[in-house]
Subunit: 192 residues, 2 copies
């Protein structure tokens, strides 16, 4: 029992109390339901791998996005993590393809360009015909640094480099938006 609690408590957002509650709940379930959960965890881990082309999580490599010929393969969106691909897919706005870096530059944590999926990105840009690279890194310090670094090494390849707009979140209230974002929204104002 204490081993189960310890394993559960390793999950993100689950502390010792929640782990204990989960463990007791699992013990009360019928055996086959518990076995189903255990199998699902191991199967997912075994079946999912990273796409050899873009680095996204997938069961088959290349992934479905990379294989989809109806998408615009000349428009490449660079993101930090597979979950960012999922967030962008939900918008239904983006019809291009992706490249997942698996992290952001962070000298403090010892993450340099070598630790990220950047070499593969440059290979793709040199071999495939790509018109525009959208840098969709997180709008935080590490993400900004990563975007600037990538822009510097991609520009010599004569490829257009853009990044996601900074500004007001839709549905918000002007007075509750932080000053830096509001400043960026003024700076990036667009003609109506």
């Amino acid at each position: 029992m204490s081993r189960l609690i310890k394993e559960l408590a390793k999950l993100p957002g689950i502390g010792p109390k929640t782990a204990q509650r989960l463990a007791f709940h699992l013990l009360e379930l019928p055996r086959d339901e518990v076995a189903q959960l255990a199998t699902a965890i191991v199967e997912a881990k075994d079946a999912l791998k990273f796409c050899a082309v873009c680095g996204h999580l997938t069961e088959e490599s290349p992934c479905q996005v990379c294989q989809d010929t109806t998408r615009d393969h000349r428009l490449l969106c660079v993101v930090e993590e597979p979950k960012d691909v999922i967030a962008l897919e939900k918008t239904r706005e983006f019809k291009g393809i992706y490249h997942v870096l698996h992290g952001a530059l962070s000298p403090l944590e010892g993450i340099g360009p070598e630790e990220l999926n950047i070499k593969q990105l440059l290979n793709r840009l040199q071999t495939a015909e790509i018109d525009e690279v959208i840098l969709a890194c997180d709008p935080d310090l590490e993400g900004e640094a990563t975007a600037l670094y990538l822009a510097k090494i991609i520009k010599p390849l004569q490829i257009k480099v853009t990044r996601l707009a900074r500004g007001l979140p839709v549905g918000g209230d002007l007075e509750y938006i932080d000053e830096v974002t509001l400043g960026k929204a003024i700076e990036g104002r667009q003609e109506l």
Copy 2:
């Protein structure tokens, strides 16, 4: 006592319980401190009025922003409320002048163009020399409707009309941003 509690409970965000706690706290204070608070409330109410030019809250009319000759009087930012002026001033990004509408169009609540400070806005645009109007309405339904309405009536005056950028809040995390905002951020992406 119950009258005091009732008056306090009318304030926004203050329910009957909090009103009671505030009332008891006020009763425990020395008499001169209570009198100071009461005077401050009435004096603020008496001293503050709306600027005759822009509609912002001010002690003197025209307000300090309207009087400031170091600001760019050819760049006019339209906002819904005086508190939006304060939010924009905090960014230190904006060096133009303001116009406060005192609300947004809302047919459901019976707020049409006549109820807002729009006639005065048109007067200003026709008499003063203004190069650009930034519509800084809230990024919600009413705000969008107000901005579109204003854009329609300002454009014939041959004045450039812009609005604040929609996009990622600075310091955020891509995966936690709502789909609509993320979609706008892709749409409004900017060249690096």
